[in-house]
Symmetry: C2
Subunit: 404 residues, 2 copies
Amino acid sequence: MALIVQKYGGTSVGDVERIKKVAERIKAFRDEGNQLVVVVSARSGVTNELIARAEAVCPNPPERELDQLLSIGEQETIALTAMALHGIGVPAISYTGAQAGIVTDMAHTKARIHSIDAEAMIKDINAGNVIIVAGFQGINSDGDITTLGRGGSDLTAIAIAGAIKADVCQIYTDVDGVYTADPRIVKNARKIEEISYDEMLELASSGSKVMQSRSVEFASKYDVVFEVRSSFNHNPGTIVKQEVASMEKVVVRGVAIDKNQAKIQLLGLADRPGTAAKVFRALATANIVVDMIVQNAGRDGVANLTFTAPANESAKAAKALEPILAELGGKIATHDQFAKLSIVGVGMKTHSGVAATLFTALAECGVNIDLISTSEIKITVAIEQAKADEAARAVHTAFGLDKA
Amino acid sequence: MALIVQKYGGTSVGDVERIKKVAERIKAFRDEGNQLVVVVSARSGVTNELIARAEAVCPNPPERELDQLLSIGEQETIALTAMALHGIGVPAISYTGAQAGIVTDMAHTKARIHSIDAEAMIKDINAGNVIIVAGFQGINSDGDITTLGRGGSDLTAIAIAGAIKADVCQIYTDVDGVYTADPRIVKNARKIEEISYDEMLELASSGSKVMQSRSVEFASKYDVVFEVRSSFNHNPGTIVKQEVASMEKVVVRGVAIDKNQAKIQLLGLADRPGTAAKVFRALATANIVVDMIVQNAGRDGVANLTFTAPANESAKAAKALEPILAELGGKIATHDQFAKLSIVGVGMKTHSGVAATLFTALAECGVNIDLISTSEIKITVAIEQAKADEAARAVHTAFGLDKA
């Protein structure tokens, strides 16, 4: 018998038929003797409908009221899921975020969880009930409903698993787990059995879309082991946990590519202290997420600054930088046809020659490297977009990821 | 400057355009210097949609979960109404039933309000905000969401008006107020300016559909004066309040008819102590609301018992009484083409000849009286359905209700 937290996303509970399927899956786990807390999202599409209605009455609605509104999406799903369980003979009790004791800070629409008072939940679990908790929401110290922002339901599940010391936390999604590479591109990509939080974070930030980074960070901080698995089958997924020594035997855990990148170059900037700060503050103010940054301190008091950003934001970036260029001189060049390729693995810390293997693999398939950036457990290169898939396959093979 | 509670029903907030109109109306009151607490229902149709979804996952959903589900209807409207006010420059804060401190008993789907802790609300009012409260819902001492059942939003408004000692409580509906008779039937019916709680209750129970009795009872118990008025115009409505001496000058306040009645006769029952109790317990168990009851203690140890019930329930009543008739002997006769006509007025207590005037008016238009039942401030007769409208007009005139 185990105490299990499960999380089902909006697609898994998208309509009444799917909710009934989720209920059957929950029942199967309970029939095996487990205790369950289940976190559900709003039915897919509901949140967007509510936002459209909000914008129809007020172009810029107050965030407190937006949270009051959006939280009903999950409140609907918890009640329907609890009912569906009753319908098949399983006692179930639904909890809103507030009822589950999920206390957050005051930051509406992107609140952080402060604490969880799980007393009521634990009492109901011990009385034999399945607990259904609304993901994505909590309550602040004023009693106002807050929402947790993107990926909020994963965060709810992981936080509850930590609070009730669950044995297992299962994040159900539409993929089987975390793969060594995107299986749509690298045909012989394999599902990873175990991965460390840090590797998962680096993969997420490199274009692997399985989970939002903040949920992984939260799990890492509170040491909550969780499993990413599919709600469409019963295969085991990928366990995400603290790094253990044996993980270092594998040099590279996975390869990620992000094909939607632009390379932006600022050429001939006045090379003064504070130049880079001005540039990146302007980009941050425009909400542009910048990644690889390379600066060449130039001669004659001018510098060249290069960075990558999502390709669909390169025009916005150019606009945001206009006043800076007017002040510092220099010109801008944007190239939209770029991709980022990253290799991630905690084994890099103790293995040498990783970069050499990567560069050799890329050279052998004729891929030119435009930018390089490294962290302790990741190497990222910016390359030509058209060759990204081929490069991913070559690198995947070069690091032996094809083999079990 | 007054402290005003307003209540808008599901039709008034039926879509985003109507919500914006309600916001304009609220703003107009606020611009006159008033403080406002506004109670809103769910958008019309939403509650039925949610019930349909509930029944699709579970034929007989638990009432706690049904309340958890249904309460989101009002939660949507409060957030949208608060947003619409923000959109036109009015600071507004939405409150769920729980946030408004509305504590109820444990009876899910038909909870009674125990108490209201209005402290937070009063603080926000005094800070200059319009408060938007979800009608129809509260929270019980376990922290579970409860709903108040039919007419629940009126009840919320009246209870809040009592709790915050509002100067005025306005119940907005789709009619102008309470009329001396149904204007669709009696063309010269007039809007009543003031009516006592007891008269309002008797009219409601006699077929006048303006408000549920429980809200009027609650207002009477806590002495909350309220006004029934239209959300489609700015006319003054009908004030409902404690009886005052001057009200007795008017003998009859209004005439109500209910054309959907059956007369059910039980003939030749064994006349023993407990016979009537058995009959009406069987009907109560079948949830049949019985009204006028007449018993003729007969000769030879048999009795005849006659009562009225909604016509669409006469078959159900006959079925419920089968075992009783098998036990006590006797037979049943049901007649579906009946109507009830009632005259209501606190003035009856101090005026004589009221019954005589009623019976004369009915006789003069050839209406036969089948059953008669009286209370201190009401006389009801059961008559032939086909003549009900004509009878209502004659009685309305006979008591001088046509005249201002």
